[in-house]
Every structure is written in structure tokens, then in C-alpha cells.
């Protein structure tokens, strides 16, 4: 598909041309970036140093009302309160886009989740390739790259102080370009070369990696190893890793309200909380924090690849950056491999 050119001073015009749909883009508050639905594209700030903002909420919100009911003098009523407006998400990293592809494979799997799928269909993803990967990034180890295209409809690359190259990757992306009119121009060969060079330069800046050779068999073979206890000792069971991970998708279903009115909603949940696996009897098969870390690693690197064909990790490094006690996924996998090889 095409590659186009957008001068940086026209970025606002481009965003403003995305009309009749919601725009979700990065804004900065108190020095922290978050992706929000915005009315005015002037507020957009591509703060590419802060990568921890959550994007999965565009298709998998933290609270999602599945249905609501009320009953009273006029009888009872059930309201399907899903709102699925078309949303364009601008400025995400390729790893976050790949995370959507990974989530798609689950939510389209044995059971097609209508809530996620409706939202996903209504979401257009515009990415911004990384030029400065962080010291936590390791996407190449899991099959990604700073200029990866999986899951994206358009990909912006910073090719100079004054311009972006914009690669059109899908029909949905093309529709956005078409409605932008002449804000974008065709990219010339030099632009395309700069685009490739930027991708290669970013790739060379990634310094962390993890050996995933045969990981989906290696991890289960270490199931009974004591290494998990040592790894689990410092974990505080807080849930930061699961909530911020772009591929984590566990949820709880809660009912709120009373006989007069109420709703059923889906909320994020995390396997790192002890309550996640407590049975009605009070028994907990994953009581130790090491057991819960083991389960999470197995899920991401063993069960998911075997069942759905993807390693459920995009190498974004959020869990590594945000963990309060430095539980480092790379270190965990390396320790387990060492323990097995001994």
C-alpha cells in the first residue's frame, strides 16, 4: 500500500479532519501521558518518553455495562447500554497494536465475545513507530519491532524535524487518508528510505532481550521447581503488571444495584490477587505469590501459544518499569531456564 508524507505543522489539521468519530489520543497531565477521548486535537501531545499509558481500554474498557434493568410502576425494562461509537486511536506504539491482534485471537476464539468484537470493529488504530525505545523494551524477542505494522491501519514514522512518513496499511486506514484531503502528499523515494533507516536505527537501540527458545515446553517442565518460590518472595501481589499489560484480559462480572434498578458489568481483574482463585470453600490453589507468577508466565508463554498461536507478550516493558519490587519478566524467564538446565 501507499506511503504518504505529512509535515508536522499539518498534524493538527490531519487530526481535525478525522470528524464524525471519536478521537482517542495522548494528552499529558501532571507529567503523565494518558490516552483519552478528546474534543480538541490541539490538546494532543505525543509524549513518546512515557510509554506506560493503557491503550487496551479502547476495545476492552475497565468498566463495561453489559446490560441494565429497572422495574417500577411502569413495568420492567432491560436496557442494552452498549455504546460503540467509531473510535480512531492515534499515536500508539506498534507493540500496543500487536497486543490487539493477540487479544483478537482470544476474543474470536471458542466463544466470540460480542462486546469486545463490536468495539474492536469500531476502532481504527493509527500508530507511531518508536525512534527512542526505552531501557525496558524488548519487542524483537517476541517477534515485534519498533516499526511493526501488525494490527495497525496507519503507521506514522518520524523522518525529520519537519515531517512524518505515513504508511497506509489497511482499507480503514485508507478511508481516514481519503477524508483528510490534501493535508497529506505522496512520499518520495527519499522519504521511504528515511522511513526504513529510522526503523533500523530504532531496532539497534533496543538493548534488552530474552531467550524464548522452546519456552512453551520449558516452563511447564519447571512447574514443580523451587525457583518459583524464590521469584515469588518479593512480589507484593498488587496487580500493576496485569492492569497495565496490553495483552492481559482477565475480567470479573459484577452486579450492581437493587431490585428497583441495577446493571451487570464487566470489570478488569488480575490473576496476581490472591482472591482471583479463592474457592467458595476458602481453599486457594494458588496461595503462594510464586504460584501466581508461575501461572501468569505459563499463561503468556505456554498456554496461549499452544492454544492460540501467539506468545501473549509484546515486549513493551510496562510490567518491568512499573513493578514496585523489580519483578522483571526477562529475569524470571532466565532464572527458570537456568533452573531447568541445572
Amino acid at each position: 500500500m501507499d506511503t504518504l508524507r505529512l509535515t508536522k505543522d499539518k498534524l493538527n489539521d490531519f487530526l481535525k479532519s478525522i470528524s464524525d468519530v471519536q478521537l482517542m489520543a495522548p494528552i499529558v497531565k501532571n507529567g503523565r501521558t494518558s490516552f483519552e477521548i478528546i474534543e480538541n486535537p490541539d490538546a494532543v501531545e505525543l509524549n513518546l518518553d512515557d510509554y506506560t499509558a493503557t491503550i487496551k481500554k479502547a476495545a476492552f474498557p475497565q468498566n463495561e455495562t453489559l446490560f441494565a434493568y429497572c422495574s417500577g410502576k411502569n413495568g420492567s425494562e432491560i436496557k442494552d447500554v452498549q455504546e460503540m461509537p467509531k473510535t480512531v486511536v492515534f499515536g500508539i506504539r506498534p507493540c500496543d497494536a500487536k497486543a490487539f491482534v493477540i487479544l483478537d485471537s482470544l476474543f474470536k476464539g471458542d466463544y466470540e465475545d460480542p462486546y469486545y468484537l463490536k468495539r474492536r470493529e469500531a476502532t481504527v488504530l493509527i500508530g507511531h513507530s518508536c525512534s527512542e525505545p526505552t531501557n525496558r523494551c524488548f519487542c524483537p524477542s517476541v517477534g515485534g519491532s519498533p516499526a511493526g505494522q501488525e494490527g495497525l491501519d496507519l503507521l506514522f514514522t518520524d523522518i525529520s524535524d519537519s515531517a512524518y512518513a505515513v504508511e497506509v496499511l489497511t482499507d480503514q486506514g485508507k478511508a481516514i487518508i481519503d477524508s483528510a484531503g490534501d493535508v497529506l502528499t505522496k512520499a518520495d523515494e527519499a522519504d521511504k528510505v528515511k522511513c526504513d533507516e529510522a526503523a533500523k536505527a530504532a531496532l539497534n537501540k533496543i538493548r534488552r532481550s530474552v531467550n524464548l527458545e522452546n519456552i512453551h515446553e520449558l516452563l511447564p517442565s519447571a512447574f514443580n521447581s523451587d525457583v518459583w518460590k524464590e521469584i515469588g518472595n518479593k512480589c507484593i501481589g498488587c496487580g500493576i503488571c496485569t492492569y497495565n499489560c496490553p495483552t492481559c484480559h482477565c475480567f470479573d462480572i459484577q452486579d450492581e444495584g437493587c431490585s428497583a434498578a441495577g446493571r451487570r458489568l464487566r470489570v478488569w481483574d488480575g490473576c496476581m490477587y490472591p482472591e482471583f482463585t479463592v474457592h467458595a470453600s476458602g481453599e486457594n490453589p494458588r496461595k503462594d505469590r510464586g504460584d501466581r507468577i508461575r501461572n501468569r508466565m505459563l499463561h503468556k508463554f505456554s498456554f496461549y501459544p499452544q492454544n492460540l498461536g501467539y506468545v501473549a507478550c509484546v515486549g513493551c516493558g510496562r510490567c518491568i518499569e512499573l513493578c514496585p519490587v523489580n519483578e522483571d519478566l526477562i529475569e524470571i524467564l532466565n532464572k527458570v531456564r537456568e533452573a531447568v538446565n541445572e
Partner: protein, 144 residues
């Protein structure tokens, strides 16, 4: 039509509840905005009750118990006082006006005082307007 505040009042069984009862039998008039919840002692009040009441849509909360030194359970109101005086200051820090959470000591013989307390608290909350920090429950509204 002026705003009619909804005020939830937690009354201790032995003193204030009896005092409120006396106000009734003595036919003292006071605003009807208070909804009472009887508890055995003011120290039963968990600060969560107060915030939850506000979040569920109450415009004001009143906690009332025995005078210090007269608690039916000897020291319950002393313990409640420590917590709740601090809590009121804390709520103000978070943007909940102190007039939305009041406390009073009303004994079983103070029917007149009860009426005055309710008047004062109601007017204080009325002046502040409806409480904005509450759960949005648009699904509670019937559409027809």
C-alpha cells in the same frame, strides 16, 4: 421551589434517638429533611457509612450521640469523637464542605435541642446546594 436537602442522620439509641422521640411527643416543629438510622452507640459509626451516604445521594449526614461522659457504654462516644472530628477535617480537605457532615450531642431529655440541631443542619446543607460527588446511576432512570 427551593432545594430540599436529603440528610441521613445516625442516632444513638440511648440518647439522641430518645431525645428525638421526645421532640416528637412534645410537638416541637423541625424540618422534615432528616432520615434517621438508629444505631446502638455513636461509636458504631464507621466513617465509611458517612461517605457512602454522601455517595449514594445524601446531601448531608448527621451523627448524634450521648454527651461526653454520659455514654451508655461508658466510652463509646469518646472513641467516636476522636474519629469523627478528624474525619470531618479530612473530608474538607477532599472538597466535601464541613457543613455536609455534622455531629451533635443530644441527650434523651433534650427534645428542644434536637429540633434546633435539625434546623441548623438542614439550613446549613440547604445553603450549600445539592451534593455533586455522588454515584451516577443513569441506568436507574426509567426511560418511559
Amino acid at each position: 421551589m427551593s432545594f430540599e436537602p436529603k440528610i441521613v442522620a445516625f442516632l444513638c439509641n440511648w440518647c439522641t434517638y430518645a431525645g428525638a422521640d421526645l421532640a416528637g411527643t412534645s410537638r416541637y416543629e423541625y424540618p422534615p429533611n432528616v432520615r434517621t438510622v438508629r444505631v446502638m452507640c455513636s461509636s458504631r459509626i464507621n466513617p465509611m457509612f458517612i461517605v457512602n451516604a454522601l455517595l449514594e445521594g445524601a446531601d448531608g449526614v448527621l451523627v448524634s450521640g450521648c454527651h461526653p461522659g454520659e455514654c451508655h457504654y461508658v466510652s463509646g462516644n469518646y472513641l467516636a469523637r476522636r474519629r469523627l472530628v478528624l474525619f470531618r477535617r479530612f473530608l474538607e480537605h477532599l472538597g466535601i464542605h464541613p457543613d455536609r457532615f455534622r455531629m451533635s450531642w443530644v441527650s434523651a431529655s433534650e427534645g428542644a435541642k434536637w429540633a434546633e440541631v435539625v434546623k441548623e443542619v438542614t439550613e446549613g446543607v440547604r445553603a450549600l446546594g445539592p451534593n455533586e460527588i455522588k454515584r451516577e446511576q443513569e441506568w436507574m432512570q426509567q426511560s418511559s
